[in-house]
Amino acid sequence: MTFGELLERHEREIFAYVLRLTGNRAEADDLFQETFLAAFRAWPPPRAGNERAWLYKIATNKAIDRVRQTRRVVPLGDLRLAAPERDGVTLSDLATAVRALPTGQRAAFVLRKVEGRPYAEIADTLGCSEEAARSRVAEAMKKLKEAMR
C-alpha cells in the first residue's frame, strides 16, 4: 500500500470525523493534516487491513493533544445555552454544547451517536476499555441533556 492509497481511501471519513470533533473547518483542516502526516511519519501502518482504525486513533489522539496544548475547554457551567426568552434549544446550541465536552467524551459521543460505531471499535480508537467508552458516552449524554435543559 502507498500513502496515496491510504489517503484516497480514508480522507473523506477522516475529514468528516475531525470536522465533527472540532466543529470548525480551519481546525478540522489542521487536524486532518496532523493526522495524515503523523501516519506518514509512523509508516507503515501497524496492522494490514486495520488502517482505518489506526487513522481514527491518531486523529483522536491529535485532537486531545490540541486541546491540552491550547486549554480551550469551556467549562459547561459557563455556558448559557437556553436563554429564558427563547422558545427552545437549537441545533447550534447542541453544537456548542458538544464542542464544550472534554475531548475524550466528545470523541466517544461522535463515534457512537453520530457515526454509530460499535463500542469495541470506539474503545480501540480511544485506547480504553469498552466499559470506559460506554461511560464516556453516557457522561457526554448527561452533560448535553443538562446543557439543553
Partner: protein
Amino acid sequence: MNALEPLVGEARERLVARAKREGLVTVGYAVADSPLGPLWVAVGPRGVVNIHYGTTPDQRELARITHAYGPGVLPDRRSCDRVLTELDQYFAGRRRSFDVPVDLAPLTSFQQRILAATARVPYGELATYKFVARRAGNEQASRAAGAALGANPIPIVVPCHRIVATDGSLGGYAGGLAAKRRLLALERGEAEVPAGGWPPSRR
C-alpha cells in the same frame, strides 16, 4: 457531489504541499484524460516513472515504484504538469517527441536498453522487435524484447506502439491493439482525434 468533497480536496492539497516541504513525497500522480481514455500518470524525482491505461495504477508497477521510492506516492497534479501538457500536445498532433525526462532506473539493464532503442524510433515510423533487440545489443533476443516492451512502464512517451512483428502484424499492446492502431494512425496523420476522444467501444 457531497458538500464535503471540495473541503476534503483543499485539505488534501494543503497536506500534499506540507508533505512535500517536509520531504515526505517522492512520487506524485494524477489521472489524465486522453482520447484513448483515462491515463494514470506518476512522476518521481528523476522523471516519469509510470503511465498506465486506466484510472488506477497497476499493482505490480506500484510495487516497483514503492520498492524504489518508498511509500510517499501521493496524488499531486502539479508534479505531473509537464508530462500531462506534453501528452495533450501529442494527442493534438502538435508534438512529435517528448522532452520530459523518464526514469527507467528500477528496470534491468536489458529492459533499459530495449526501451532506449525504442525511444529512438522516430514519430510515425515502425520498427520490429528484432530491430530493437539488435539495437539493444542482442539480435537473437527479439522475444525478450517483446517481453520488455510488453512491460514498458511508460507507454506513449516511450513509443512501444511503434514496434511491430517482423511479418508486419501488430504484436501486442498494453492499452489494447485498437489503441496501438489509433496511435499509429495519429502519427501517420491519418486520424484526427475527434472532440471528446475516440468512442470507448472502438479504442
